[in-house]
Protein backbone atom coordinates (compact mmCIF):
# COMPACT_ATOMS: atom_id res chain seq x y z
CA UNK A 1 0.00 0.00 0.00
CA UNK A 2 1.34 3.40 -0.88
CA UNK A 3 1.95 5.99 1.81
CA UNK A 4 -0.51 8.68 0.71
CA UNK A 5 -3.18 6.01 0.54
CA UNK A 6 -2.40 4.78 4.06
CA UNK A 7 -2.53 8.36 5.31
CA UNK A 8 -5.83 8.96 3.57
CA UNK A 9 -7.35 5.86 5.14
CA UNK A 10 -5.92 6.79 8.52
CA UNK A 11 -7.49 10.25 8.36
CA UNK A 12 -10.80 8.73 7.35
CA UNK A 13 -10.65 6.31 10.28
CA UNK A 14 -9.98 9.16 12.68
CA UNK A 15 -12.93 11.08 11.27
CA UNK A 16 -15.18 8.07 11.88
CA UNK A 17 -14.11 7.87 15.51
CA UNK A 18 -14.80 11.58 15.91
CA UNK A 19 -18.22 11.11 14.33
CA UNK A 20 -18.98 8.25 16.68
CA UNK A 21 -18.13 10.46 19.62
CA UNK A 22 -20.25 13.30 18.23
CA UNK A 23 -23.17 10.90 17.78
CA UNK A 24 -22.93 9.72 21.39
CA UNK A 25 -23.03 13.34 22.58
CA UNK A 26 -26.02 14.13 20.34
CA UNK A 27 -27.93 11.02 21.43
CA UNK A 28 -27.36 11.81 25.10
CA UNK A 29 -28.02 15.55 24.80
CA UNK A 30 -31.28 15.18 22.87
CA UNK A 31 -32.68 12.87 25.55
CA UNK A 32 -31.93 15.53 28.17
CA UNK A 33 -34.48 17.70 26.35
CA UNK A 34 -37.30 15.26 27.19
CA UNK A 35 -39.70 16.74 29.73
CA UNK A 36 -39.33 15.30 33.24
CA UNK A 37 -36.43 13.13 34.38
CA UNK A 38 -35.76 9.42 34.74
CA UNK A 39 -37.15 9.24 38.28
CA UNK A 40 -40.40 10.83 37.11
CA UNK A 41 -40.60 8.39 34.20
CA UNK A 42 -40.07 5.34 36.42
CA UNK A 43 -42.46 6.38 39.18
CA UNK A 44 -45.14 7.93 36.99
CA UNK A 45 -47.05 11.19 37.16
CA UNK A 46 -48.51 10.91 40.66
CA UNK A 47 -45.33 10.03 42.51
CA UNK A 48 -44.84 11.82 45.84
CA UNK A 49 -42.08 14.39 46.11
CA UNK A 50 -40.37 12.24 48.71
CA UNK A 51 -40.32 9.12 46.55
CA UNK A 52 -38.93 11.20 43.69
CA UNK A 53 -36.12 12.55 45.87
CA UNK A 54 -35.16 9.05 47.02
CA UNK A 55 -35.23 7.70 43.46
CA UNK A 56 -33.17 10.63 42.18
CA UNK A 57 -30.53 9.98 44.82
CA UNK A 58 -30.50 6.28 43.93
CA UNK A 59 -29.96 7.07 40.26
CA UNK A 60 -27.47 9.90 40.96
CA UNK A 61 -29.69 12.25 38.98
CA UNK A 62 -28.63 15.26 41.04
CA UNK A 63 -25.22 15.17 39.37
CA UNK A 64 -24.52 17.44 36.39
CA UNK A 65 -25.38 16.16 32.91
CA UNK A 66 -21.77 15.98 31.80
CA UNK A 67 -20.90 13.54 34.60
CA UNK A 68 -23.93 11.40 33.82
CA UNK A 69 -22.86 11.41 30.17
CA UNK A 70 -19.43 10.19 31.28
CA UNK A 71 -21.01 7.39 33.31
CA UNK A 72 -23.24 6.36 30.42
CA UNK A 73 -20.39 6.35 27.90
CA UNK A 74 -18.13 4.36 30.24
CA UNK A 75 -20.95 1.86 30.71
CA UNK A 76 -21.54 1.56 26.96
CA UNK A 77 -17.83 0.99 26.35
CA UNK A 78 -17.99 -1.86 28.87
CA UNK A 79 -21.09 -3.33 27.28
CA UNK A 80 -23.51 -1.93 29.86
CA UNK A 81 -26.25 0.01 28.08
CA UNK A 82 -28.33 0.55 31.22
CA UNK A 83 -31.71 -0.83 32.24
CA UNK A 84 -34.91 -0.44 30.28
CA UNK A 85 -37.46 1.75 32.03
CA UNK A 86 -40.31 -0.31 30.59
CA UNK A 87 -39.05 -3.90 30.76
CA UNK A 88 -36.94 -3.26 33.89
CA UNK A 89 -34.25 -5.47 32.44
CA UNK A 90 -30.82 -4.75 30.87
CA UNK A 91 -31.04 -3.08 27.48
CA UNK A 92 -28.17 -4.91 25.79
CA UNK A 93 -29.84 -8.31 25.14
CA UNK A 94 -32.79 -6.53 23.49
CA UNK A 95 -30.43 -4.55 21.29
CA UNK A 96 -28.34 -7.52 20.19
CA UNK A 97 -31.42 -9.62 19.38
CA UNK A 98 -33.13 -6.87 17.39
CA UNK A 99 -29.89 -5.82 15.74
CA UNK A 100 -29.18 -9.32 14.44
CA UNK A 101 -32.65 -9.42 12.83
CA UNK A 102 -32.03 -6.02 11.23
CA UNK A 103 -28.64 -7.19 9.94
CA UNK A 104 -30.25 -10.29 8.44
CA UNK A 105 -32.89 -8.22 6.65
CA UNK A 106 -30.51 -5.52 5.41
CA UNK A 107 -27.79 -8.04 4.50
CA UNK A 108 -30.08 -10.13 2.31
CA UNK A 109 -31.60 -7.02 0.74
CA UNK A 110 -28.14 -5.70 -0.14
CA UNK A 111 -26.85 -9.05 -1.41
CA UNK A 112 -29.74 -9.22 -3.89
CA UNK A 113 -29.63 -5.52 -4.65
CA UNK A 114 -26.14 -5.49 -6.19
CA UNK A 115 -26.57 -8.03 -9.04
CA UNK A 116 -30.20 -7.04 -9.61
CA UNK A 117 -29.71 -3.29 -10.05
CA UNK A 118 -26.42 -3.47 -11.97
CA UNK A 119 -27.96 -6.15 -14.19
CA UNK A 120 -30.97 -4.00 -15.02
CA UNK A 121 -28.71 -1.04 -15.76
CA UNK A 122 -26.67 -3.23 -18.11
CA UNK A 123 -29.82 -4.44 -19.81
CA UNK A 124 -30.86 -0.82 -20.38
CA UNK A 125 -27.44 0.01 -21.82
CA UNK A 126 -27.26 -3.16 -23.94
CA UNK A 127 -30.37 -2.16 -25.87
CA UNK A 128 -30.84 0.92 -28.02
CA UNK A 129 -30.62 4.20 -26.10
CA UNK A 130 -34.14 5.57 -25.50
CA UNK A 131 -35.50 2.46 -27.23
CA UNK A 132 -38.55 0.65 -25.83
CA UNK A 133 -36.69 -1.55 -23.30
CA UNK A 134 -34.40 1.26 -22.14
CA UNK A 135 -37.31 3.70 -21.81
CA UNK A 136 -39.43 1.22 -19.87
CA UNK A 137 -36.60 0.53 -17.43
CA UNK A 138 -35.90 4.26 -17.00
CA UNK A 139 -39.56 5.07 -16.41
CA UNK A 140 -39.87 2.28 -13.83
CA UNK A 141 -36.73 3.60 -12.14
CA UNK A 142 -38.16 7.12 -12.00
CA UNK A 143 -41.30 5.77 -10.36
CA UNK A 144 -39.23 3.72 -7.90
CA UNK A 145 -37.36 6.91 -6.90
CA UNK A 146 -40.58 8.84 -6.41
CA UNK A 147 -42.63 6.44 -4.31
CA UNK A 148 -41.52 6.16 -0.68
CA UNK A 149 -40.72 2.71 0.70
CA UNK A 150 -43.63 2.62 3.13
CA UNK A 151 -46.11 3.13 0.30
CA UNK A 152 -44.48 0.33 -1.73
CA UNK A 153 -44.53 -1.92 1.33
CA UNK A 154 -48.18 -1.23 2.11
CA UNK A 155 -49.26 -2.02 -1.45
CA UNK A 156 -47.15 -5.19 -1.61
CA UNK A 157 -48.80 -6.34 1.62
CA UNK A 158 -52.24 -5.42 0.35
CA UNK A 159 -51.83 -7.28 -2.93
CA UNK A 160 -49.48 -10.21 -2.24
CA UNK A 161 -50.36 -10.90 1.40
CA UNK A 162 -53.89 -9.78 2.23
CA UNK A 163 -55.55 -10.37 -1.14
CA UNK A 164 -53.59 -13.26 -2.64
CA UNK A 165 -52.34 -14.78 0.61
CA UNK A 166 -48.94 -15.75 -0.84
CA UNK A 167 -46.94 -14.26 2.00
CA UNK A 168 -47.61 -13.40 5.65
CA UNK A 169 -48.63 -9.73 6.06
CA UNK A 170 -46.50 -9.40 9.20
CA UNK A 171 -42.82 -10.40 9.10
CA UNK A 172 -42.58 -12.11 12.49
CA UNK A 173 -39.12 -13.51 11.93
CA UNK A 174 -38.72 -14.55 15.58
CA UNK A 175 -41.52 -17.07 15.05
CA UNK A 176 -40.13 -18.51 11.81
CA UNK A 177 -38.33 -21.75 12.60
CA UNK A 178 -37.77 -23.40 9.22
CA UNK A 179 -35.97 -22.24 6.09
CA UNK A 180 -39.16 -21.90 3.98
CA UNK A 181 -40.82 -19.95 6.80
CA UNK A 182 -37.84 -17.58 7.01
CA UNK A 183 -37.83 -17.08 3.24
CA UNK A 184 -41.54 -16.30 3.05
CA UNK A 185 -41.25 -14.00 6.08
CA UNK A 186 -38.36 -12.02 4.61
CA UNK A 187 -39.63 -11.95 1.02
CA UNK A 188 -41.85 -8.86 1.18
CA UNK A 189 -39.57 -6.65 3.32
CA UNK A 190 -36.58 -7.52 1.12
CA UNK A 191 -38.60 -6.84 -2.04
CA UNK A 192 -39.74 -3.48 -0.62
CA UNK A 193 -36.19 -2.40 0.19
CA UNK A 194 -35.02 -3.46 -3.27
CA UNK A 195 -37.80 -1.52 -4.99
CA UNK A 196 -36.64 1.59 -3.19
CA UNK A 197 -32.90 1.08 -3.81
CA UNK A 198 -32.80 -0.16 -7.40
CA UNK A 199 -33.61 3.05 -9.27
CA UNK A 200 -30.54 5.03 -8.28
CA UNK A 201 -27.93 2.35 -9.00
CA UNK A 202 -29.69 1.37 -12.22
CA UNK A 203 -29.60 4.95 -13.48
CA UNK A 204 -25.94 5.41 -12.53
CA UNK A 205 -24.95 2.15 -14.25
CA UNK A 206 -26.94 2.92 -17.38
CA UNK A 207 -25.64 6.49 -17.75
CA UNK A 208 -22.04 5.46 -17.09
CA UNK A 209 -22.36 2.63 -19.61
CA UNK A 210 -23.69 4.96 -22.29
CA UNK A 211 -20.79 7.35 -21.60
CA UNK A 212 -18.21 4.57 -21.81
CA UNK A 213 -19.81 3.07 -24.92
CA UNK A 214 -19.13 6.36 -26.74
CA UNK A 215 -15.40 6.26 -25.92
CA UNK A 216 -12.74 5.49 -28.52
CA UNK A 217 -11.52 2.21 -27.10
CA UNK A 218 -14.98 0.71 -27.02
CA UNK A 219 -15.55 1.81 -30.63
CA UNK A 220 -12.17 0.30 -31.41
CA UNK A 221 -13.18 -3.00 -29.82
CA UNK A 222 -16.42 -2.99 -31.80
CA UNK A 223 -14.58 -2.20 -35.04
CA UNK A 224 -12.19 -5.08 -34.39
CA UNK A 225 -15.26 -7.25 -34.75
CA UNK A 226 -15.49 -8.46 -31.14
CA UNK A 227 -18.91 -9.81 -30.20
CA UNK A 228 -21.24 -7.23 -28.59
CA UNK A 229 -21.57 -9.20 -25.37
CA UNK A 230 -17.78 -9.30 -25.03
CA UNK A 231 -17.47 -5.54 -25.67
CA UNK A 232 -20.17 -4.76 -23.09
CA UNK A 233 -18.95 -7.01 -20.31
CA UNK A 234 -15.17 -6.96 -20.77
CA UNK A 235 -14.46 -3.52 -22.16
CA UNK A 236 -17.25 -1.22 -21.06
CA UNK A 237 -18.53 -2.58 -17.74
CA UNK A 238 -15.27 -2.42 -15.70
CA UNK A 239 -14.94 1.27 -16.53
CA UNK A 240 -18.57 2.01 -15.77
CA UNK A 241 -18.54 0.29 -12.39
CA UNK A 242 -17.15 3.17 -10.30
CA UNK A 243 -20.38 5.24 -10.29
CA UNK A 244 -22.39 2.08 -9.66
CA UNK A 245 -20.23 1.15 -6.66
CA UNK A 246 -20.59 4.68 -5.37
CA UNK A 247 -24.36 4.47 -5.66
CA UNK A 248 -24.46 1.04 -3.99
CA UNK A 249 -22.43 2.43 -1.09
CA UNK A 250 -24.92 5.28 -0.71
CA UNK A 251 -27.75 2.75 -0.70
CA UNK A 252 -26.03 0.67 1.96
CA UNK A 253 -26.06 3.76 4.17
CA UNK A 254 -29.65 4.50 3.19
CA UNK A 255 -30.59 1.00 4.37
CA UNK A 256 -30.01 2.02 8.00
CA UNK A 257 -32.90 4.48 7.77
CA UNK A 258 -34.79 2.34 5.25
CA UNK A 259 -35.03 -0.61 7.62
CA UNK A 260 -36.52 1.63 10.31
CA UNK A 261 -39.52 2.39 8.10
CA UNK A 262 -39.82 -1.08 6.55
CA UNK A 263 -39.60 -2.77 9.95
CA UNK A 264 -42.53 -0.67 11.14
CA UNK A 265 -44.55 -1.50 7.99
CA UNK A 266 -44.07 -5.25 8.47
CA UNK A 267 -43.93 -5.29 12.27
CA UNK A 268 -40.47 -6.84 11.87
CA UNK A 269 -38.68 -7.13 15.23
CA UNK A 270 -35.55 -5.20 14.22
CA UNK A 271 -33.60 -2.40 15.81
CA UNK A 272 -35.45 0.32 13.87
CA UNK A 273 -38.82 -0.74 15.22
CA UNK A 274 -37.32 -1.04 18.70
CA UNK A 275 -36.15 2.58 18.41
CA UNK A 276 -39.53 3.86 17.24
CA UNK A 277 -41.36 1.96 20.00
CA UNK A 278 -38.98 3.06 22.74
CA UNK A 279 -39.41 6.68 21.67
CA UNK A 280 -43.16 6.42 22.13
CA UNK A 281 -42.61 4.83 25.59
CA UNK A 282 -39.96 7.46 26.51
CA UNK A 283 -37.70 4.52 27.43
CA UNK A 284 -34.51 6.58 27.45
CA UNK A 285 -31.80 3.89 27.91
CA UNK A 286 -33.39 1.81 25.15
CA UNK A 287 -33.63 4.85 22.84
CA UNK A 288 -30.02 5.80 23.49
CA UNK A 289 -28.76 2.27 22.96
CA UNK A 290 -30.63 1.56 19.74
CA UNK A 291 -29.93 5.03 18.26
CA UNK A 292 -26.24 4.65 19.10
CA UNK A 293 -25.96 1.19 17.53
CA UNK A 294 -27.86 2.26 14.39
CA UNK A 295 -25.67 5.36 14.02
CA UNK A 296 -22.49 3.36 14.59
CA UNK A 297 -23.59 0.97 11.84
CA UNK A 298 -24.20 3.91 9.52
CA UNK A 299 -20.74 5.31 10.28
CA UNK A 300 -19.13 1.89 9.75
CA UNK A 301 -20.88 1.42 6.39
CA UNK A 302 -19.76 4.85 5.20
CA UNK A 303 -16.22 4.16 6.37
CA UNK A 304 -16.12 0.81 4.56
CA UNK A 305 -17.55 2.38 1.41
CA UNK A 306 -15.01 5.20 1.41
CA UNK A 307 -12.07 2.89 2.03
CA UNK A 308 -13.28 0.58 -0.74
CA UNK A 309 -13.50 3.55 -3.10
CA UNK A 310 -10.00 4.66 -2.13
CA UNK A 311 -8.60 1.17 -2.76
CA UNK A 312 -10.41 0.92 -6.10
CA UNK A 313 -9.30 4.31 -7.40
CA UNK A 314 -6.26 3.68 -9.62
CA UNK A 315 -4.93 7.23 -9.13
CA UNK A 316 -4.43 6.55 -5.43
CA UNK A 317 -3.15 3.01 -5.86
CA UNK A 318 0.04 3.97 -7.71
CA UNK A 319 2.89 5.29 -5.71
Amino acid sequence: MSRPLARLIGTRLLLSLLSLFAVSVIVFAVMEALPGDTAQRILGRDATAQALTVMRAQLHLERPAIERYGDWLTGVLHGDFGTSLVARRPVLPYITAHFSYSLLLAGIALALHIPFSVGLGLLGAATRRDGPIDSTISAAALLGMSVPEFVIGIFLVSILATTLGWFPPLALIDQAHSVPAVVSTLFLPVLTLNFAMTAYVLRQTRNAMFDVLRSDYVRMATLRGLPRRHVLLRHALPNALAPAINAIALNAGWLVGGVVVVEVVFNYPGLGRLLVESISFHDVPMIQGSALVLSATYIAINLAADVATMLLTPKLRVR
Binding site: L15, S19, L142, V147, E149, F155, V256, V260, V276, I287
Partner: protein, 270 residues
Amino acid sequence: MARRLSRTALFGAAVVVVYAALSIAAPWLAPHAPDEVFAGGAFEPPSGAFWFGTDSLGRDVLSRVLFGGRTVLLMAGSATAISVAIGGALGMLLGLRRGLADQVVMRLIDIVMSVPPIIFALLLIGALGPSALLIIVVVGLLFTPNVTRVMRAATLAVVGEDFVLAARARGESGAAIVLRELLPNVAGTLLIEFSIRTGFATIFISGLGFLGFGAPPPTPDWGVMINEGRSTMDASIWPVVAPAVCMALLVTSLNLFTDGVARVVDRAAR
Protein backbone atom coordinates in the same frame (compact mmCIF):
# COMPACT_ATOMS: atom_id res chain seq x y z
CA MET B 1 -31.72 21.19 -28.55
CA ALA B 2 -30.73 21.50 -24.96
CA ARG B 3 -31.00 25.23 -24.55
CA ARG B 4 -34.57 24.76 -23.47
CA LEU B 5 -36.35 22.48 -21.04
CA SER B 6 -37.57 19.18 -22.43
CA ARG B 7 -41.28 18.50 -22.74
CA THR B 8 -41.22 16.06 -19.81
CA ALA B 9 -39.55 18.71 -17.62
CA LEU B 10 -42.21 21.26 -18.59
CA PHE B 11 -44.89 18.68 -17.79
CA GLY B 12 -43.29 18.17 -14.36
CA ALA B 13 -43.22 21.93 -13.75
CA ALA B 14 -46.86 22.24 -14.83
CA VAL B 15 -47.96 19.51 -12.40
CA VAL B 16 -46.12 21.21 -9.53
CA VAL B 17 -47.80 24.52 -10.40
CA VAL B 18 -51.21 22.79 -10.41
CA TYR B 19 -50.46 21.27 -6.99
CA ALA B 20 -49.50 24.68 -5.64
CA ALA B 21 -52.69 26.24 -7.04
CA LEU B 22 -54.87 23.42 -5.61
CA SER B 23 -53.20 23.80 -2.22
CA ILE B 24 -53.80 27.53 -2.12
CA ALA B 25 -57.39 27.09 -3.23
CA ALA B 26 -58.06 24.08 -0.96
CA PRO B 27 -60.38 25.92 1.46
CA TRP B 28 -62.65 26.92 -1.47
CA LEU B 29 -62.35 23.70 -3.47
CA ALA B 30 -62.75 21.12 -0.71
CA PRO B 31 -66.39 20.05 -0.37
CA HIS B 32 -65.94 19.39 3.36
CA ALA B 33 -63.70 20.48 6.21
CA PRO B 34 -60.76 18.02 6.40
CA ASP B 35 -61.59 17.08 10.00
CA GLU B 36 -65.40 16.93 9.60
CA VAL B 37 -66.30 13.58 11.19
CA PHE B 38 -69.15 11.62 9.61
CA ALA B 39 -69.59 13.85 6.59
CA GLY B 40 -70.75 10.51 5.19
CA GLY B 41 -70.82 6.91 6.42
CA ALA B 42 -67.58 5.10 7.21
CA PHE B 43 -65.67 3.59 4.24
CA GLU B 44 -68.01 4.83 1.52
CA PRO B 45 -66.74 4.00 -1.98
CA PRO B 46 -66.09 6.89 -4.40
CA SER B 47 -69.30 8.57 -5.50
CA GLY B 48 -70.54 11.90 -6.82
CA ALA B 49 -70.70 13.25 -3.28
CA PHE B 50 -67.35 11.78 -2.16
CA TRP B 51 -65.01 11.53 -5.16
CA PHE B 52 -62.38 9.54 -3.28
CA GLY B 53 -64.80 7.94 -0.79
CA THR B 54 -64.66 8.35 2.98
CA ASP B 55 -62.36 7.02 5.71
CA SER B 56 -63.02 5.07 8.93
CA LEU B 57 -64.47 8.17 10.62
CA GLY B 58 -66.60 9.09 7.61
CA ARG B 59 -64.34 12.00 6.69
CA ASP B 60 -64.18 13.06 3.03
CA VAL B 61 -60.93 11.67 1.59
CA LEU B 62 -60.82 14.23 -1.25
CA SER B 63 -60.95 17.14 1.20
CA ARG B 64 -58.31 15.52 3.37
CA VAL B 65 -56.03 14.92 0.40
CA LEU B 66 -56.43 18.55 -0.74
CA PHE B 67 -55.62 19.94 2.69
CA GLY B 68 -52.94 17.31 3.18
CA GLY B 69 -51.24 18.53 0.00
CA ARG B 70 -51.29 22.01 1.46
CA THR B 71 -49.57 20.75 4.62
CA VAL B 72 -46.99 18.73 2.69
CA LEU B 73 -46.15 21.47 0.17
CA LEU B 74 -45.89 24.07 2.91
CA MET B 75 -43.73 21.92 5.16
CA ALA B 76 -41.51 20.42 2.46
CA GLY B 77 -41.21 23.77 0.68
CA SER B 78 -40.30 25.67 3.85
CA ALA B 79 -37.79 23.03 4.97
CA THR B 80 -36.17 23.08 1.54
CA ALA B 81 -36.13 26.89 1.49
CA ILE B 82 -34.26 26.88 4.81
CA SER B 83 -31.67 24.38 3.60
CA VAL B 84 -31.15 26.05 0.21
CA ALA B 85 -30.90 29.54 1.72
CA ILE B 86 -28.40 28.58 4.43
CA GLY B 87 -26.56 25.94 2.41
CA GLY B 88 -26.42 28.13 -0.70
CA ALA B 89 -25.04 31.19 1.11
CA LEU B 90 -22.60 29.13 3.17
CA GLY B 91 -21.42 27.03 0.22
CA MET B 92 -20.78 30.08 -1.98
CA LEU B 93 -18.94 31.99 0.75
CA LEU B 94 -16.77 28.97 1.62
CA GLY B 95 -15.99 28.33 -2.04
CA LEU B 96 -15.04 31.97 -2.54
CA ARG B 97 -13.00 32.48 0.62
CA ARG B 98 -11.44 29.00 1.07
CA GLY B 99 -8.87 29.06 3.89
CA LEU B 100 -9.22 27.89 7.47
CA ALA B 101 -12.95 28.60 7.88
CA ASP B 102 -13.63 26.42 4.84
CA GLN B 103 -11.56 23.55 6.25
CA VAL B 104 -13.25 23.72 9.65
CA VAL B 105 -16.80 23.97 8.32
CA MET B 106 -16.30 21.16 5.81
CA ARG B 107 -14.97 18.81 8.52
CA LEU B 108 -17.92 19.77 10.74
CA ILE B 109 -20.23 18.95 7.86
CA ASP B 110 -18.55 15.56 7.46
CA ILE B 111 -19.28 14.83 11.11
CA VAL B 112 -22.89 16.09 11.04
CA MET B 113 -23.56 14.00 7.94
CA SER B 114 -22.39 10.88 9.75
CA VAL B 115 -25.61 10.77 11.79
CA PRO B 116 -28.34 8.96 9.86
CA PRO B 117 -30.91 11.72 9.17
CA ILE B 118 -34.04 9.73 10.00
CA ILE B 119 -32.64 8.76 13.42
CA PHE B 120 -31.63 12.31 14.19
CA ALA B 121 -35.12 13.51 13.23
CA LEU B 122 -36.89 10.80 15.26
CA LEU B 123 -34.81 11.58 18.36
CA LEU B 124 -35.38 15.33 18.17
CA ILE B 125 -39.06 15.18 17.33
CA GLY B 126 -39.61 12.39 19.86
CA ALA B 127 -37.94 14.44 22.59
CA LEU B 128 -39.46 17.84 21.84
CA GLY B 129 -42.90 16.67 20.74
CA PRO B 130 -44.17 16.85 17.15
CA SER B 131 -45.09 20.25 15.77
CA ALA B 132 -45.14 21.46 12.18
CA LEU B 133 -42.58 24.17 12.93
CA LEU B 134 -40.15 21.76 14.61
CA ILE B 135 -40.39 19.32 11.69
CA ILE B 136 -39.71 22.12 9.19
CA VAL B 137 -36.66 23.34 11.12
CA VAL B 138 -35.25 19.85 11.74
CA VAL B 139 -35.64 18.71 8.13
CA GLY B 140 -34.31 22.04 6.86
CA LEU B 141 -31.19 21.76 9.00
CA LEU B 142 -30.71 18.07 8.13
CA PHE B 143 -30.63 18.90 4.40
CA THR B 144 -28.34 21.94 4.79
CA PRO B 145 -24.95 20.10 4.83
CA ASN B 146 -25.70 18.40 1.50
CA VAL B 147 -26.72 21.67 -0.15
CA THR B 148 -23.61 23.38 1.25
CA ARG B 149 -21.38 20.70 -0.26
CA VAL B 150 -23.00 20.90 -3.69
CA MET B 151 -23.02 24.71 -3.79
CA ARG B 152 -19.41 24.90 -2.65
CA ALA B 153 -18.38 22.56 -5.44
CA ALA B 154 -20.40 24.56 -7.98
CA THR B 155 -18.74 27.75 -6.74
CA LEU B 156 -15.23 26.28 -6.96
CA ALA B 157 -15.88 25.56 -10.63
CA VAL B 158 -16.61 29.25 -11.32
CA VAL B 159 -14.38 31.05 -8.84
CA GLY B 160 -11.25 30.88 -11.00
CA GLU B 161 -12.94 32.52 -14.00
CA ASP B 162 -11.73 35.89 -15.24
CA PHE B 163 -14.85 37.82 -14.30
CA VAL B 164 -14.50 36.74 -10.65
CA LEU B 165 -10.80 37.62 -10.65
CA ALA B 166 -11.64 40.98 -12.19
CA ALA B 167 -14.25 41.68 -9.52
CA ARG B 168 -11.73 40.78 -6.86
CA ALA B 169 -9.11 43.02 -8.47
CA ARG B 170 -11.65 45.85 -8.44
CA GLY B 171 -11.78 45.32 -4.68
CA GLU B 172 -15.43 44.34 -4.50
CA SER B 173 -16.76 42.94 -1.24
CA GLY B 174 -17.45 39.22 -0.73
CA ALA B 175 -21.20 39.79 -0.65
CA ALA B 176 -21.09 41.76 -3.90
CA ILE B 177 -19.08 39.05 -5.64
CA VAL B 178 -21.45 36.33 -4.38
CA LEU B 179 -24.56 38.22 -5.50
CA ARG B 180 -23.38 39.74 -8.79
CA GLU B 181 -20.74 37.34 -10.12
CA LEU B 182 -21.35 33.91 -8.55
CA LEU B 183 -25.10 33.74 -8.11
CA PRO B 184 -26.03 34.11 -11.80
CA ASN B 185 -23.56 31.34 -12.65
CA VAL B 186 -24.69 28.84 -10.04
CA ALA B 187 -28.41 29.69 -10.26
CA GLY B 188 -29.08 26.51 -12.27
CA THR B 189 -27.45 24.33 -9.63
CA LEU B 190 -29.40 26.17 -6.94
CA LEU B 191 -32.65 25.49 -8.80
CA ILE B 192 -31.74 21.79 -9.16
CA GLU B 193 -31.01 21.61 -5.43
CA PHE B 194 -34.33 23.25 -4.64
CA SER B 195 -36.46 20.94 -6.74
CA ILE B 196 -34.64 17.70 -5.88
CA ARG B 197 -34.63 18.47 -2.15
CA THR B 198 -38.34 19.38 -2.20
CA GLY B 199 -39.01 15.85 -3.48
CA PHE B 200 -36.75 14.34 -0.80
CA ALA B 201 -38.38 16.50 1.88
CA THR B 202 -41.86 15.42 0.76
CA ILE B 203 -40.90 11.76 1.10
CA PHE B 204 -39.00 12.34 4.34
CA ILE B 205 -41.78 14.32 6.04
CA SER B 206 -44.45 11.83 4.91
CA GLY B 207 -42.24 9.05 6.28
CA LEU B 208 -42.12 10.83 9.63
CA GLY B 209 -45.91 11.15 9.51
CA PHE B 210 -46.19 7.46 8.73
CA LEU B 211 -43.99 6.56 11.72
CA GLY B 212 -46.21 8.67 13.98
CA PHE B 213 -43.89 11.68 14.15
CA GLY B 214 -45.73 13.99 11.76
CA ALA B 215 -47.68 17.16 12.31
CA PRO B 216 -50.04 16.45 15.22
CA PRO B 217 -53.72 15.67 14.47
CA PRO B 218 -56.10 16.92 13.28
CA THR B 219 -53.72 18.45 10.69
CA PRO B 220 -54.27 16.36 7.54
CA ASP B 221 -50.97 14.99 6.27
CA TRP B 222 -50.47 12.37 3.53
CA GLY B 223 -48.09 10.22 5.59
CA VAL B 224 -50.42 10.27 8.59
CA MET B 225 -53.42 9.45 6.34
CA ILE B 226 -51.59 6.46 4.86
CA ASN B 227 -50.68 5.22 8.33
CA GLU B 228 -54.26 5.62 9.62
CA GLY B 229 -55.79 3.95 6.58
CA ARG B 230 -53.52 0.96 6.24
CA SER B 231 -55.03 -1.11 9.07
CA THR B 232 -58.46 -0.86 7.43
CA MET B 233 -57.46 -1.46 3.82
CA ASP B 234 -59.73 -4.49 3.58
CA ALA B 235 -62.70 -2.14 4.21
CA SER B 236 -61.60 0.56 1.75
CA ILE B 237 -58.30 1.18 -0.04
CA TRP B 238 -59.17 4.78 -0.96
CA PRO B 239 -57.94 6.49 2.22
CA VAL B 240 -54.49 5.01 1.39
CA VAL B 241 -54.50 5.03 -2.41
CA ALA B 242 -55.54 8.69 -2.77
CA PRO B 243 -52.73 10.28 -0.74
CA ALA B 244 -50.18 7.70 -2.03
CA VAL B 245 -50.93 8.44 -5.69
CA CYS B 246 -50.95 12.20 -5.07
CA MET B 247 -47.55 11.97 -3.41
CA ALA B 248 -46.09 9.73 -6.14
CA LEU B 249 -47.30 12.12 -8.87
CA LEU B 250 -45.89 15.16 -7.07
CA VAL B 251 -42.46 13.63 -6.47
CA THR B 252 -42.27 12.12 -9.97
CA SER B 253 -43.05 15.54 -11.44
CA LEU B 254 -40.40 17.19 -9.28
CA ASN B 255 -37.87 14.58 -10.44
CA LEU B 256 -38.81 15.08 -14.11
CA PHE B 257 -38.33 18.82 -13.71
CA THR B 258 -35.00 18.29 -11.91
CA ASP B 259 -33.74 15.96 -14.67
CA GLY B 260 -34.66 18.53 -17.31
CA VAL B 261 -32.96 21.44 -15.55
CA ALA B 262 -29.88 19.28 -14.87
CA ARG B 263 -29.59 18.53 -18.59
CA VAL B 264 -29.76 22.21 -19.53
CA VAL B 265 -27.21 23.17 -16.87
CA ASP B 266 -24.92 20.33 -17.97
CA ARG B 267 -24.91 21.39 -21.61
CA ALA B 268 -24.38 25.03 -20.68
CA ALA B 269 -21.30 24.05 -18.66
CA ARG B 270 -19.73 22.18 -21.57
